[in-house]
Symmetry: C2
Subunit: 255 residues, 2 copies
């Protein structure tokens, strides 16, 4: 097994080193991770400035580790095209410090990296722990990441084309986690509350801030609900954003 | 009608001024557009640096025009939360200089802006012309943007919740356009070919480059096919990227 590991929190994050440790149980590991924290960069790619890559000397035995100056998606593209000796068997992204459930998946660099791999026909899993702390406790995440990856590898031949898995792990102890649920994305939205300030030169500026609003808090088949109830959520995601249900409306317009 | 216009090519682009001209036929227009060209920024948001907004004095009569230092999605978020007097009735994005068909929609700032509006319950249309030229001919785009917007406004009450329209216009004269087709996203991928160079300080760097590869060139119900045959493509898109077809595989894993 050749496994690529990446993330969006940057090459120094604790979540990444946890995921590398997990990946080493299953095969030959390459890491290509962003130099900078890249949360909220979604599926962005770097086109106007050059991308740099540097090998990173690490203590991780047998792991080839590269730092990429670009985005998480750049890292995957570079890995697939310039760094890895062949197409990997699996791409792992994370473990993200913070949730990527519900609509947050759209903004997530972690999940964009996994999706980019899936778009290239590679099974891919993004992991996120619902804890933004730099020094978050990844014990439960590490345990369950192993469980999930093992099952996916065993059933690799039937893995559906073009799909990435969005795994979110509740912030609680290993003992308190009730299990794993296969669910859909909860409908919700980030309600922004821009923080307006004035700089020392008397110019206004804004910080993007806000809170998540769940439109369907009682829907038990959603990631939000199972996470609130101490289950791990797995949502299969894909890049085909065609809204097939809207075809009827559009056809009736007789455009 | 209150209409928000934005784009990803930046506030000075010809495609934007074309779309503003179109929008003025239908109501009161606010423009909140990025300062810089933001192609390929996808759904990224600015969290680590402050966002600046400046009013732009323009010759466009009756149009309120603001320049945002952030991404296309930041521009929409700021417009909805800080700039517009109320929730707009319609959000228009573009007209993009270059295609956003097939999988390119995932990387597109133009379509991310439209999707962000749709996620907030606002009908939204992104327009793209298959011509990257700064001085591209938007005659046909302008004509058909009017046709499409008029129909959407007339049928606004039935507009499906959470949907944005991805409109791509072939690069040809108005006369040669055969009509409009409601289609799905063609399956395809960008095949990267990183351009490797050495800088004056003897350090390697890469430019992201490559070409689009269509996996289903003969599928007549796809955006790629109709565009190649001189039709305008409309793909309804949404942010729910749950891959429902993968549930069966995952449930069989007994995780």
């Amino acid at each position: 097994m050749l496994i690529l590991v990446t993330n969006d929190d940057g090459y120094l994050s604790k979540g990444l080193s946890t995921l590398i440790r997990v990946a080493k149980n299953f095969g030959n590991v390459y890491v290509v991770a962003p130099l900078h924290g890249s949360s909220g960069l979604s599926h962005s790619i770097t086109m106007k400035i050059p991308i740099r890559v540097k090998e990173h000397k690490t203590n991780e035995n047998g792991v080839k580790f590269y730092i990429c100056s670009g985005t998480p998606v750049d890292s995957v593209k570079l890995a697939l095209n310039k760094i890895l000796p062949r197409k990997p068997d699996l791409v792992l992204s994370g473990i993200n410090h913070g949730s990527n459930s519900s609509i947050s998946v759209i903004y997530s660099g972690t999940m964009a990296a996994a999706l980019e791999a899936s778009m290239n026909g590679i099974p891919a899993i993004g992991f996120s722990l619902l804890d933004y702390d730099e020094d978050a406790d990844f014990t439960a995440s590490e345990y369950y990441a192993k469980v999930i990856i093992e099952k996916i590898i065993k059933n690799k031949k039937k893995y559906p084309q073009g799909v990435a898995l969005n795994v979110n792990i509740p912030k609680c102890s290993l003992k308190k986690i009730k299990g794993i649920k296969i669910v859909r994305i909860a409908k919700g939205v980030w309600k922004e509350e821009f923080d307006e300030r004035v700089d020392p030169h008397n110019q206004k500026y804004y910080w993007l801030t806000g809170g998540f609003h769940n439109y369907e808090p009682d829907a038990i088949d959603t990631d939000e609900w199972v996470l609130k109830n101490n289950y791990i959520s797995i949502v299969p995601v894909h890049a085909d954003i065609t809204a097939y249900f809207a075809f009827e409306y559009l056809r009736k317009l007789k455009l």
